[in-house]
Structures are given as C-alpha cells and as structure tokens.
Amino acid sequence: MKTKMKILWLSAISCNGNTHSFLNYPYMEQFLDDFEFIYHPVIDSKYLLQDIVSKQIACDILLIEGAISKEYKRADVSIVEIIEKYSKIVQKIVTVGTCATFGGIFRESGYENASGLHFDQEKKLEDFKYLLDKTISLSGCPIHPEILANTLYAIKKSATLRLDNFLRPKEFYAYTVHNGCTRNEYFEYKVDNHKFGELEGCMYYEHGCQAPFTHGSCNKILWNEVSSKTRVGLPCMGCTEPSFPRQNLFSTKKNMSIPESLPVGVNKRVYLTLAGITKAFKIDRLEKKLFDD
C-alpha cells in the first residue's frame, strides 16, 4: 500500500471559506488516495481535535487557515502553541487563504495582534521567522482549490517551487488577475463607461477593479472550472493581496482623473502616454453592444 502524505488542516480565526472552496476540487477521489488528513474541519479524520492539541500526531504538512493570534484557542489551546508544536515536525507549512497569509478580513476581528503567519499585511513579522524556509503562502479569499491541491502535489513530488517575496508560488502569483479577463479589450482601448449588468466594459476605470494590480490566476485557472468575478462583471477585490480588504471596494480612487493604483510595473508616464493615444481613437465595435446586429 502506498503511503499517503499526512496533512493537518488547522483553522484559526476564519470563516471556513477555504475549507469549502477546497471541497470543490474536481479530483477529490484521487486526492484522497494520495493524501490523508490527520484532522480536517469537515472531512472525517482518524484523530479528534482534542488528540491533535494534546498529543503530537505524525504529520507531513501543516495547513493553516485563518488569521493567527495567540489569544485565539482551539480546544482550549492557543493556536500559536499548536502551530509551534506541529511546525517542528512537518516538512512544509502552507498558509491557506489571505487571513493565514496576511491577516485578511479577520485581522480586524479584535483578537490581539491578529495577522498572517509571517506577514501583517505587507509587514514581515519576527515571530515565526525561523519557519520562513518551510512556508508556502497561498493567498486568496478563498483559495482556489486547484492552486491548493496542486501545491500539495508539488510538495509530495519534492518539486522546487519558485516563490515571490510573500512566499507565494510564482506559477500562480506571477500573473495578474487581469490576465485572461474577457473584458481585456475594454481596458486596452480605455472604454471607460462600464455599467453593472452588462457583458461589455471594464470595471478598472470606475468600479474599483483591482485585477491589473492583483497577483493571481483567477482568469487563467477559472473558478469552479466555469468563470471568474471579472468575467461576470464583478470587480476584482484584490483578495490575494496583503492590503485586502481595502476600503470603498466598488469605486476607483482617482487623482486628477487618473486611477491611483496603476497596473503592476506600469508607471504614470507610460500610463498617461498610452491613455492619450487610445483616447484619440474611438473603436466602434467596443462602443456597441457585443451582440448587436
């Protein structure tokens, strides 16, 4: 019988959104042949949470979901103590979701110094510094199931993953959410009159879409194998980034009518030059309804 890799899925201050997102992984049968959860918030496991916190159960990968604060307890034991105990014995630690990586929404939950494992938003933390070499960050609110599953397979294969400054695998986070969006042409040619409820238009200019400056693969590896927020017409909320959640999410902050946050790597001069050129043209096809006769 082949040995399965053992995973501890540990929830901290969370909504269980990553747990349920993971249940959307299409190849669950195969996954459960290859991996075993010594504890999972929903799937039955050999051990109870009480066993996990009172003993040290053999384990290969520690998955953390949710923001971390020493004040927060599971089965009467501080989440920090549980992390310390298991981080010693595992090969790898994976912070699943934006809360566990950067603090996310539950950074504001009122628990003392709630943050990600290594980052409090952009700030690098001292606390678990000795674990930096072991950690892979998978930000996103929630995590995309395929990104999680395939990262776990990479660990199983001992594949070398190239990571960015926040320890996120470049293979998923070197892209921006803008890559692959079906509304790209409206962005490129600056057709900025987007309205909700339409197939046409780009939400970057008015409606707060953060896709051009958000790292992620939402439009490359589609959600639920079907679509993405921006494809249906919902602005990207920047949920993979340390700054999530920003304020005033449905509105684009502008200075002198220029969006405050520009696409990754594009400076203001480049942006203005391009904007000037595209504004000089009117492309009828993009001004009209997509399905017009």
């Binding site: 959307n24 409820g197 494809r231 249906v232």
Partner: protein, 419 residues
C-alpha cells in the same frame, strides 16, 4: 459531563447533566467570535457586500443576499428587475442545495453505521457551485448581488449550462438519495410510502423508524420563517396552525453570560427555524404528513432537509424557464449611497433557516450592523426553566452519542452562530 462537539464549522462545548440515567439539561457554549459586526462599523456600506459573505464558508451567499436586501431597504423607491430577483433566488437555492448534500453525506451519514460519503457530498456540491459561478463568477465568496440588481448579464448559453447542472444534480438525487424519478418523489404525500423506496435517505429513515430513535429529538413544535421569496412563505406554525402575520419587531436578541452566542426569541419564546420550519409554514404535503405521524422528531427534521433538495432543484428549473432575458440585470439607484442616511433590514432563508441583517447608515457609512443567524434561533441556550429548541430536543435522551446526533440534526454552524 462536558463534550467538545467538533466539525460543526468550528466547535461547541456541550455540558450534559444527567438525572436517573437521562439527560435533564444541556448547556451549550460557543467559545469564540470574530466580531464581524464591529469590523463593519465605520466602513462604506457597499463594502459590506464583500465582507459579509466571509461570515461563513458554507452559507456566505445567504449573507450576501441578506446584505444586499438590507441595504436596498434603506432606499425609497429602489427599482429591481424581476430578472435580478429571480437570479438571486436561484443562486441562493443552489447554496442551500450544496449545504444539504454536505450535511446529509458528511454529517448525518456516519451516525447510521456508514462511512462519511465524501464523494457523494462533493459531486453534487460542485455542480451547484458551478451553477452559482455562472452568475456570480465563483463560489464561495462572490459579491455579485449589488444594490440595484446583479452584476452579471446572462445569455442563452448560460441558461443552458445552468439547466444542465440542475438536471445532472437531479439525476444524482434519483440515483442515490431516493431512487425514484423526482416527479414521483415530489408527488408523494405519505411519509411512510417514502420508506418503500430505496436510496440513502429511505435507508436512514427506515433505521430511525425501526429503532426508538423515532421518538427522539422532539422539541416545542414551534416553527418560524421570516425569509420570504417566490418559493418560501413567511409565517409561523404552532401546533400545526400556520399564521402568516409575523413581524420582525417581535424578534429579540439577548446576551448570554457564558457563551459568545446570543439568544434569539420571538415574543419571548424560542422557535425552530430551518427546512422543517419552512415546510411547515409552506404546508409541504409530505413533510406535514411526517410531522403528523412523527411530530417534530429527528425523522421529520432529516426528511425535511433532504427533501428540500429536490423541491429546490425542481423549483429552480421553473424560475429559469420564466426568466425574461430582455429585462435589465441592474438598474442604477437614483441616489448615490454617499448621500444616504437611513436604516434597513432584511430576512432571508439560509440553509439553516431565517437569517436577519439590520443596518444603519449615515451618509453611506455603516453606523451599526446586526446579524441574527439561523443557528442562534435553534441553539439559543436557555435556562432549565426555559430550554432552547435544541436543548429541549436533547433532554430525556440516555446517551451522549444520540444527543450529538440530535444536536447535529439541526445542522449547526458554529462560526455563523457567533459571527
């Protein structure tokens, strides 16, 4: 004896008191909260559409719909197309369905001598998530319902896709849950006739019926549902008498000294919410018959939740058929939210029952936000003199294992309860 109940979207501590070998009181304690209501205070009103789905990973969509409806109720004369209303109803139905499958195959199944059926839970769940993603872009955690409608425009091809996800899910039900065609199931009005069929649901129901479990988990026989839409009716059912004139003004939330959860009552009394309550208020023939024969027992509660899957799938087909694609998905509100000072509320039927959101906004900024979740209704921790709904259902049982089954039959969500 204290037992930590796990895998209920978090945990709860149940302190069982026994007298003469029977449970005579259970104290229910939730150990943590995430202070969502505080997080919302001071934020822009529309940001609640992004934050609130994150109340819960399994019923976050209900929180989105409750949020958008609460915000919309702050406006005078806000316009909403029938298409947008129907699409919102559809995606909420799909969330309810995925929840019920998970509850049945992951939570209930192991209590009846079976292994957890992970793939039977995830297969239909994924189909329903796909159906939500067609409209909302992703599941969980979309914010596609915005004040004035929905962000998506839908095409004929989207409709075809969603219809196929529904049909495929119905097929799964017919091949697994109750092995008859769904038309026959929907026409069935006799709770005992259902036991003649094969399938995972009749298997469990037979097991309940053939043991003394049939008498378990009876509570007050008081039901309430506030979330009204084109399928669910608003009302309460008291000893089978249904009344539709109920007001949210009579709903009261009170602090509890020992738990992070707050008590919820209607006119000072505890009521059960959820699929059984909805079916009683809606007078769903099969469930009313089960209730007539077996009361508000484990049997009726499990049947009601599982049966709702087929009902909602079937009704969703109708909703789609009646969609008028020519209508707008979104009608821009006349008033900019930053100029709005108002208050509002909403009630929707989430997977576990009535979910209430209340909001106060001042020039578009959230001044106050209150959330009352379904599990709060069912798990309100009363005193010995005035037991909560789930407490009453557990009193009189002789073992903790059965008590855990009864507790989980309410489909408890720990994180929602304390939010």
């Amino acid at each position: 004896m204290i037992k930590l109940i796990e895998k209920i979207e978090g945990e709860a501590k149940l302190n069982f008191n026994f007298k003469d070998g029977k449970i005579d009181f259970v104290d229910v304690e939730f150990m943590s909260t995430r202070n969502i209501e505080n997080i919302l205070r001071g934020k822009r009103a529309f940001d609640a559409l992004v934050i609130n789905p994150r109340v819960c990973g399994i019923c976050g969509h209900a929180h989105l719909i409750a949020t958008v409806q609460a915000l919309e109720s702050c406006y005078d004369n806000l316009q909403l197309s029938n298409k947008a209303k129907a699409i919102r109803e559809l995606t909420l139905n799909f969330e309810l369905i995925q929840n019920h499958f998970k509850w049945f195959y992951l939570t209930m199944f192991p209590f009846f001598g079976h292994k957890q059926q992970i793939l039977k839970a995830t297969y239909p769940t994924q189909l329903m998530s796909k159906a939500i993603a067609v409209f909302g872009g992703q599941y969980p955690h979309t914010s596609y319902a915005v004040v004035g409608g929905v962000v998506c425009e839908i095409t004929q091809m989207d409709i075809i896709k969603v219809e196929n996800y529904i049909s495929q899910t119905l097929k799964f039900v017919e091949e697994n849950l109750v092995k008859i065609d769904s038309k026959t199931l929907l026409a069935c009005k006799d709770a005992d006739a259902l036991l003649e069929f094969s399938g995972d649901l009749p298997d469990i129901l037979r097991e309940i019926k053939n043991t003394d479990m049939i008498n378990h988990a009876k509570s007050y026989d008081r039901f309430i549902a506030f979330g009204e839409n084109s399928f669910f009716k608003k009302g309460k059912s008291l000893k089978k008498k249904v009344s539709h004139s109920i007001s949210l003004k009579d709903v009261k939330e009170t602090e509890m000294p020992t738990s992070f959860a707050k008590n919820v009552s209607y006119k000072e009394k505890y009521y059960e919410v959820g699929p059984l309550a909805r079916a009683m208020v809606n007078k769903t023939a099969l469930i009313v018959d089960a209730h007539k024969k077996y009361g508000d027992s484990l049997y009726s509660r499990i049947l009601a939740r599982a049966y709702e899957i087929t009902e909602l799938l079937n009704y969703s087909k109708k909703l789609i058929k009646n969609l008028d694609l020519a209508e707008p998905s979104y009608i821009e509100p006349q008033l900019d939210i930053s100029k709005l000072t108002s208050s509002g509320y909403s009630a929707v039927e989430a997977a576990r029952g009535t979910l209430i959101h209340k909001v106060e906004i001042e020039k578009g900024i959230i001044k106050n936000y209150e959330i009352i979740t379904p599990t709060q209704w069912n798990l309100s921790g009363g005193t010995r003199e005035k037991l909560g709904v789930s407490q009453k259902a557990m009193v009189g049982l002789s073992d903790i294992k059965t008590a855990e089954l009864v507790f989980k039959s309410f489909d408890v969500c720990s994180i929602c309860t304390t939010h």
